[in-house]
Symmetry: C2
Subunit: 316 residues, 2 copies
Amino acid sequence: MTFADRLHAAIRAKGTPALVGLDPRWEQLPAPLKAKAEAGGGSCYEIQARAFEEFCLRIIDVVADLVPAVKPQSAFFEDSGPAGVAALQRVIQAARDKGLIVICDAKRGDIGSTAEAYARAYLAGEDPSSAPFAADALTVNPYMGADTLQPFIDRAAACGGGLYVLVRTSNPGSGEFQNRLTEGQSLYQRVAEVVEKLNVDSHPARGYGSIGAVVGATYPEELGELRALMPHTPLLIPGYGSQGGTSADTSAGFDQAGLGAIVNSSRGIIFAHRKGPFAVADESHWESSVEAATRAMIDDLAQHTPAGRLQNCSQA
Amino acid sequence: MTFADRLHAAIRAKGTPALVGLDPRWEQLPAPLKAKAEAGGGSCYEIQARAFEEFCLRIIDVVADLVPAVKPQSAFFEDSGPAGVAALQRVIQAARDKGLIVICDAKRGDIGSTAEAYARAYLAGEDPSSAPFAADALTVNPYMGADTLQPFIDRAAACGGGLYVLVRTSNPGSGEFQNRLTEGQSLYQRVAEVVEKLNVDSHPARGYGSIGAVVGATYPEELGELRALMPHTPLLIPGYGSQGGTSADTSAGFDQAGLGAIVNSSRGIIFAHRKGPFAVADESHWESSVEAATRAMIDDLAQHTPAGRLQNCSQA
């Protein structure tokens, strides 16, 4: 099975396109979890890595039955050095063991054999034993040119893995370079065109290919335009929740069957115990907040996007 | 001292802008070194990581007195998982202990607090104990916009570290997006303009700032143009040697004093034992090839670029 097939099977099985971003930050961890990690001793990096691992594993336990996929953010693990990276490895493995699709958000990109090394490191596709960081899919940066995406595409095709190419990112300054017009076409539109062609060329007879695109919910009009421009490209939509995007803003990213897109929420779910409708006074109950926030996101997407059609399927 | 000051002091002290890229590849390692690593046992990742570490440490021993800086390529270490990343950590530390400037080539880039995490992970600047991967400088990708560079710039300024922003990369397809013209200005020229302004704004009274630019030797005309466009920006020039760039091709990257640029060679130096003028039949003598290739590159740059003026200084 291709990544796109596996992803859509998981979305159908769970009845939702909600993606939980695993972005652990020390300051925002539940106090009891930090205290436990500190009691274990070791360097500050070891303590942080231990806390991040337990935090993510417990989130995975909560969300594994609710959502199709998780997206660990590599930066926060790298920030603890080798101990952090070892924690990332185990978090990825644990998520896969629970049947979750894992998208490693590392935004890698480089030339030739260097890109091959990154692809080997992070793309395990169907066989979790085939890469040290055994993700199903990886985020990649297109700035260096499509020739630098090819080693990732080759590896993904060989292992049943997937990619998400940055197209239109969710940050306030994303337009600075991505919106530059050349003969009436913006850079992000051109990148989108390249990604779509790569999917069509590699899967001529299929629906969705396995080379996805990252398109922020913070630019809803462009999301609809890009869905139309990339009919064979699965979308990863960041920017929902804490970054300001609403479920309605993500709506145009879906096809009529409610497929073709996954919507990420990181802070809004994993730190739900701290603020908002699911905040708790006693931080030892933080996992209830994670579960409530995840269920609320699933409902929100079901009510305000075509993904609502998925729930009817999965309940039937 | 700023990164630019430390870099230029090191270039002057060694009398050369030659930068040795540490890009270990298992297939190309000297046979005796692979055999030794295999004899140590463990998983294939542990064996590869052990071999990469010894290989890089021995290269550092050879080149530490000859060149100002080394550039480990993170991808090859990540490809061995946590064991590889631990090796990268020790390689960076060993190079710094030998007085080398370390540029970690990881091409990171992300938004907000994620970029902060990457910056904390890789930028140690003047104090090698201040980051788990204690590099002096880090390569970064600008696609997401200048707002995503700011956390890296802030960290670099705080710790005396540096950055190298991808501007015009050395790969054959680099022009696909980087050459797109908007109102007569290419994307890489626009990124260059942004980088130069960041340097001018942060170091108004200085010569070179600490936010460098990556500009490939494989596009020599653009190199001269970019040197003129970015008079306060130090350049990192890949593409010399194995990728086809000559010393003459890099010449336009220097200022009249022979400063303002460093020229990278990876395979041409670290795998010199395998082919070319310094190949050896007995691979146990591979370090002689590394030394000879490094000295040849230094001479080549001295003869065909303004960096020749540095040698007169360091000999005087």
